[in-house]
């Protein structure tokens, strides 16, 4: 069964303490596509991404990777994804270079760490401990992971936060290059994205609030 759909999600459900957070989400992610998960604060975007990266166990529903059930191709799937969350997984006492060195794959197609740091605008900062970097600079270190690995599916949770305009543009370029090369991106962001084509999927949160 050949399918251009990388990821298919059917009737996905997730509950926390018996309160439903995700209530039957159905979506697909195709090769060469950027899918933006939309929804107000607390609607479950991060939760959805964490389920799809297997960090959380769904309460129900199925997830297919290239038509196969996830649990049957777990290793294959996990080798091909990259997740960048709210939390940047940076060790603040380590330098930018050291932080990246644990995630590099020395496979062809990926860039060297110094090159990646240069591309994200941190030339000259590679040996500064990360707690001495500004918010946006820390974020850039985390984003450099996009360059040094060569995963197929990117899950990006608010990749633009704390970035200045050039930073945002750079990430957009990265995503474009990535999908042109046969990858796919699923991202959440509250900022407007300046590029096309982006498909959107709306999570209608079961959130209690919403008073704004």
């Amino acid at each position: 069964m050949v399918n251009s759909s990388l990821l298919t999600v059917n009737d996905l459900r997730f509950e926390r303490d018996d309160i439903p957070v995700i209530n039957g989400a159905c979506l697909t992610l195709n090769v060469g596509e950027i899918l933006q998960i939309e929804g107000p604060n607390g609607s479950g975007k991060t939760t959805l991404l964490r389920i799809l990266t297997t960090a959380l166990q769904p309460s129900g529903g199925e997830i297919l990777y290239r038509g196969q059930i996830l649990s049957e191709c777990r290793f294959d799937y996990l080798s091909n994804i990259l997740f960048l969350g709210h939390q940047s997984a940076l060790k603040l006492t380590l330098t930018a270079e050291e932080n990246l060195s644990w995630t590099t794959s020395e496979l062809p197609g990926s860039v060297s760490i110094m090159e990646a740091l240069e591309q994200v605008g941190l030339r000259g900062y590679s040996d500064v401990p990360c707690h001495k970097l500004s918010e946006g600079q820390q974020r850039r270190v985390a984003l450099a992971r996009l360059l040094v690995t060569n995963a197929e599916v990117w899950f990006l949770d608010e990749p633009f936060s704390a970035l200045d305009k050039q930073g945002v543009q750079f990430v957009e370029q990265c995503m474009e290059r990535h999908i042109k090369g046969g990858g796919a991106v699923m991202l959440t962001t509250h900022q407007p994205i300046g590029m096309e084509p982006v498909r959107r999927y709306s999570l209608v949160g079961s959130s209690v609030g919403g008073g704004f």
Partner: protein, 226 residues
């Protein structure tokens, strides 16, 4: 195998580097132990005869506290900054990175204590015959302590609680180790063969190495579910 080995060495090196950055100097654990050892004569008794009797137990209680209190952070900081999540969703086996982390923990607590123990023995008037068994026992025993503490650290990682809960969980498991550990020293002081309790410590370490990383991996997967 090379892949899983990379998991071990990557996390082993990473945690060592972190410890080095955090502490600034590699020597400070030793200074810490020496300072605590200074308190004993001050608080209890300065007489060499009494100190000699206290020495085995004191050294082991210190080893235990040091391991326990430093183990709290073993997974918590990784959990908070998202590294643990990255580890959990990586395709590699979880066991090797965990093994690497625990080994790094031992290198930064158990090993310095083992190396500093002759100095402490000197301060507590330990008979010279007990030095070798002390170091051998500490080397093996602190390894067990690190592995057991890591189980506790994994069990409590997602609970925004402090080290007290960890202590509550791990301390009972520590009791046999402290008994055999100080027995090794006591036997040698009393002129008896100390290979018996040392062998038991070794056996416990072997079991811990074989089982603990598996248990920790299982616990981390089971527990970080929201």
């Amino acid at each position: 195998m090379p892949e899983s080995n990379r998991g071990f060495s990557a996390y082993f090196r990473r945690d060592l580097l972190l410890a080095y950055r955090r502490r600034g100097e590699v020597a400070s654990p030793i200074i810490f132990f020496v300072m605590v050892a200074t308190l004993i004569p001050l608080g209890i008794t300065p007489e060499a005869d009494s100190l000699k009797e206290l020495a085995p137990g004191t050294i082991w209680v210190m080893a235990l506290l040091a391991t326990l209190l430093s183990a709290e952070g073993l997974f918590v900081s990784d959990y908070k900054d998202g590294s643990l999540e990255q580890l959990l969703i990586s395709p590699n086996m979880l066991v090797m990175p965990i093994f690497g982390k625990v080994t790094a923990h031992w290198i930064t607590t158990g090993l310095p204590l083992t190396l500093a123990s002759p100095l402490i023995g000197l301060m507590l008037s330990l008979p010279s015959v007990a030095y070798l068994p002390m170091m051998a026992g500490l080397a093996l025993g602190t390894g067990c302590l690190s592995f057991l503490a890591a189980i506790g650290a994994a069990l409590t990682v997602s609970l925004q609680k402090g080290s007290l809960l960890l202590t509550l969980i791990v301390m009972p498991l520590y009791m046999p180790i402290i008994i055999f550990g100080s027995a090794v020293m006591q036997y040698s002081i009393d002129g008896m063969a100390w290979s018996g309790p040392l062998a038991i410590l070794g056996a416990m370490l072997a079991v811990a190495i074989a089982l603990c990383p598996l248990a920790i991996a299982a616990v981390l997967r089971l527990i970080t579910i929201n």
